[in-house]
Amino acid sequence: MRYLPHSNAERAEMLAVIGAASAEALFATVPASARLSKPVDLPTHSPEFLVEAHMRALASKNHAAADGPFFVGAGAYRHHVPATVDHLIQRSEWLTAYTPYQPEVSQGTLQMLFEFQTQVAHLTGMEVANASMYDGSTATAEAVLMARRLTRKDKIVLSGGLHPHYRDVVTTYLDHSPSLIALPASPEGQGDILNQIDDDTAAIVIQTPDFFGHLRNVEKAAEAAHAKGALLIVVVTEVVSLGLIEAPGALGADIVVCEGQSIGNPLTFGGPYVGLMATKKEFLRQMPGRLCGETVDADGNRGFVLTLSTREQHIRREKATSNICTNSGLCALAFSTHMGLLGEAGLTRLARLNHSRAVRLAKALGAVPEVELLNKSFFNEMTIRLPVPAAPVVELLAKAGVLAGVPVSRLIPDDPAVANLIVLAATELTTDEDIDMLGECLHAALEDRS
């Protein structure tokens, strides 16, 4: 087997050095009844080219985003990842290093994390950021728990604009706690979250741009929350928006969590992605996840280490702020290299380009008879209402090779208020032809009905 360095002769020699009669002898401590008496019922080893053929066959059964017009967003976005980014993250020294527990031979990873933390802090407008979380949804749940620890209060209110998956994850993390108030979906950008804040409230969670694409008023939410001693958690699932939309940190957010996938990371059916988490300095010690800090070495040279680990499971065990260990290191690298390539100038241009593509999309959708655009504001994503249930229409268009967005009913089933809605996104990769084709297909599908 190509991955196993030993020949049988070497195995025998090594057993002799060990003084073991056989390989099986090394498993002597395993109860005999637990040892398999025959090989597992699985295929045997296979040449690389046959494995590749198998995987290619599976891959070819999927419709890749590049195969046709593509408007699917709703928390994961198709952006162009520069070739340099994907090249860099495959370098052995990034790809096959462990968590930088031995800083003297891990300065590459550590300095990158320090740079990543700086980027995230600047992007969100916050004072400190950690070295990544699994993704935006779990980061949101962790932020909620962090807010509870910080305020020593229980009640959490989730905006009706929060991504339904995020809402579900928080719900699961909080074990359906009665002190969790998840407001009903607000596809028109409406919402009464401010009325829900009371003195028991630990935090409110709002998303902007929200699940339906609307830009939400962070400042007002912050004021209302702070007035009651609650924290404001702001969720951003499309991190490119921060190149054009005000930083939550500038508007009073206490914790900002983002899904960072849009920068540097391909769609890959939902993961791995990278959760960003940033907060105020004063909240640092309740923050979950790894932190990288600057220091000096014995010769006085600048260097970096993982720090403040007394928040973490490997030091504090059951008293840790979270159980997170492995995070999203390589996705953070992809994020950081892509952001390092963009810089302020590039991110700004990218955000503007996304928005202008979305404006083009909005106009085209507005021109389709019987289609109602729900958004007055948006970044690169918007919601439309059809005169009929949306899911079958999306399916119909998929058959025609057009991936028209996400029918809201897929995430919020059994709610007539959203059954006719589709959430659609445009990015820099969306062409005029894509948009025109969507408009035509949508038009045709709705006409066919009648």
């Binding site: 991955y3 090594m14 003084g19 390989a23 090394l26 109860p31 637990a34 597992v40 699985l42 080893h45 296979s46 995987m55 599976l58 891959a59 070819s60 999927n62 419709h63 699917v72 994961a76 090249h87 495959q90 370098r91 020294e93 790809l95 290093a97 930088p100 031995q102 003297e104 031979v105 300065q107 990158m112 600047h122 728990l145 998956h165 359906h176 005000e246 500038a250 059916f269 993961g271 600057e294 220091t295 010769d299 040279n301 280490v305 995070n327 290191g329 390589l330 290299t337 810089g343 302020e344 241009r349 503007r352 380009l353 928005h355 202008s356 007055k376 399916e395 998929a398 089933p413 820099e428």
Partner: protein, 515 residues
């Protein structure tokens, strides 16, 4: 070095960042923010003009202040930085509990096929049948290797898998009206994530002490069990590198007490294809695809921690999961019945599923079993070669896939486990895991994995023995000074924690250059 207002050095003084650590090929790299600025960019994009019509008055006012580099500068920045890292590809990385095995590049190639990399989690399922088939196939391999009834693929890492499994246990108790069970038993040798997970879910952690052999006595477990106990979290093979000999009895006792058996499967590499955990009586076990199934560690992640579940826990698996009926495969995304809900957005770590399945197909069932045997062989070889110079806390008998030593052999040398580890760096090796498990004084946990050749193991053992001899010969300064041949000498961790500096700050003490 003076900076302009972007923090970009403007003077022409010798900045001395070309090299460090005594070698011209290991650079001393400035920070991105010291070489980039907000105007440079390595991405060309049309500069479109937009109106504020749809921005709701929320246009960004705060400066982004993100440094950019042109492409050649960026490429070099990250290549140079990377050279300061040790990696599996550059040498043996014997971190115990981490399974730093070979990461095949075929995996990397496969995950980049557009049919995997360029598909959206919310596309119509009719357009991603290949992806669902792949998830199904991966699930089949994991269930077959563990002899279990179900697998929840979506956990994002081992700790997330622990959370998922323990949530399933919590849900199962709730379904039986046993929600009062609020204690989880955890051996003192357990990885930190185990107690952290239990506490995270609101459980009280009750610690079980290991016996003198480094394993858990069924008797001790029995003594701790009671009507308040929800589960035990036991690692097997355990963190001392030993197979828990009484595990079957423990499982029986746990079940008899109405509790569930959560098994930490981080060490599954030792037994895959040889022992099926389901046969031992476990109820839930996470598998770190980034350990056992070769998905790369990536400097700290991402990983994937699928959890296999027994019949008893299967109904409580989280959504989403793939459902195989007669026709096309379906993805169940909404929690119905007893399913515990959703633990992450979307479908989990597809990128890791592709890599892990590619790895499994390459090995086949036979190859996986051989890999487990070779992992165990290698650990025992290291143990045999280093014993008795290195002291073994739990005797000289065979271990599983990792060899555990304590610092007894360093007594009176003035050399600590930390010093010893740093001296290994000078010899070109990444240190083993140190000071874990906590139950062993000055622990040195060595996991060579199956990927190391005998030749490399011999070289490693030679170096270890030479170092031990040197320590015993009274050469403590070599150790306390180490490392001297790495890109950095020892770093001041206290200072880092006392005066946390967690992001780059524009140097304020430096007068701004006129522009």
């Amino acid at each position: 070095m003076s900076m302009n207002n972007q923090g970009r050095p403007t003077d022409t003084g010798t900045s001395g960042f070309a090299s460090t650590s005594g070698s011209s090929l290991l650079p001393n790299e400035p920070l991105l923010f010291e070489i980039g600025d907000t105007e440079h960019s390595g991405v060309d994009l049309p500069d479109v003009t937009i109106t504020d019509d749809f921005l709701g008055g929320f246009k960004r006012q705060m400066p982004l202040d993100l440094a950019g580099l042109t492409e050649p500068e960026a490429l070099r920045h990250y290549v140079r930085l990377s050279r300061l890292n040790y990696s599996i590809d550059s040498g043996m990385y014997p971190l115990g509990s981490c399974t730093m095995k070979h990461n095949p590049r075929l995996n990397e190639k496969m995950v980049r096929l557009p049919g995997f990399a360029d598909i959206h989690p919310l596309q119509p399922t009719s357009t991603v049948q290949g992806a669902l088939e792949l998830m199904n196939e991966l699930a089949h391999w994991l269930m077959t290797l563990t002899n279990t009834a179900a697998v929840a693929l979506t956990p994002k890492a081992g700790a997330h898998g622990e959370m998922c499994g323990m949530m399933a246990i919590r849900a199962a108790h709730a379904a039986k009206g046993e929600s009062h069970r609020n204690v989880v038993l955890v051996p003192d040798s357990a990885h930190g994530t185990n107690p952290a997970t239990a506490a995270f879910l609101g459980y009280t952690v009750k610690t079980i002490a290991a016996n003198a052999q480094g394993t858990v006595d069924a008797a001790a477990v029995k003594a701790a069990l009671g009507p308040d106990v929800a589960a035990i979290m036991l690692t097997n093979p355990n963190t001392c590198g030993l197979f828990e000999p009484q595990i079957i009895d423990i499982a029986k006792a746990v079940h008899e007490a109405g509790a569930y058996f959560y098994c930490d499967g981080a060490n599954f590499n030792a037994i895959m294809g040889v022992v099926r955990p389901g046969d031992l009586g476990i109820d839930a076990m996470h598998i770190n695809l980034h350990k056992t199934f070769s998905t790369p560690h990536g400097g700290g992640g991402p990983g994937a921690g699928p959890v296999v579940l027994s019949e008893a826990l299967a109904p409580f698996a989280p959504v989403p999961f793939v459902c195989k009926g007669g026709g096309p495969l379906a993805l169940v995304e909404q929690a119905e019945g007893e399913h515990l809900g959703r633990i992450t957005a979307f479908n989990g770590q597809m990128g890791m599923y592709v890599r892990a399945l590619t790895y499994m197909l390459s090995h086949g069932g036979d190859g996986l079993a051989q890999a487990a045997k070779d992992a165990v062989l290698n650990a025992n070889y290291v143990k045999a070669r280093l014993t008795p110079v290195f002291s073994t806390p739990f005797g000289e008998g065979p271990c599983m896939h990792e060899a555990l030593f304590d610092d007894h052999f360093l007594e009176d040398t003035g050399v600590t486990t930390l010093d010893f580890a740093k001296a290994m760096i000078d010899e070109g090796f990444h240190p083993m895991t140190m000071y874990f498990p906590l139950v062993v004084h000055g622990a040195m946990l060595i996991e060579p994995t199956e990927s190391e050749s005998r030749q490399t193991l011999d070289h490693f053992c030679d170096v270890m023995l030479e170092l031990a001899a040197d320590a015993k010969a009274g050469n403590a300064p070599r150790f306390s000074a180490a490392p001297t041949r790495a890109p950095r000498r020892r770093l001041d961790e206290t200072r880092a924690a006392r005066q946390p500096k967690l992001k780059w700050e524009r140097p304020m003490d430096v007068p701004q250059a006129a522009e």
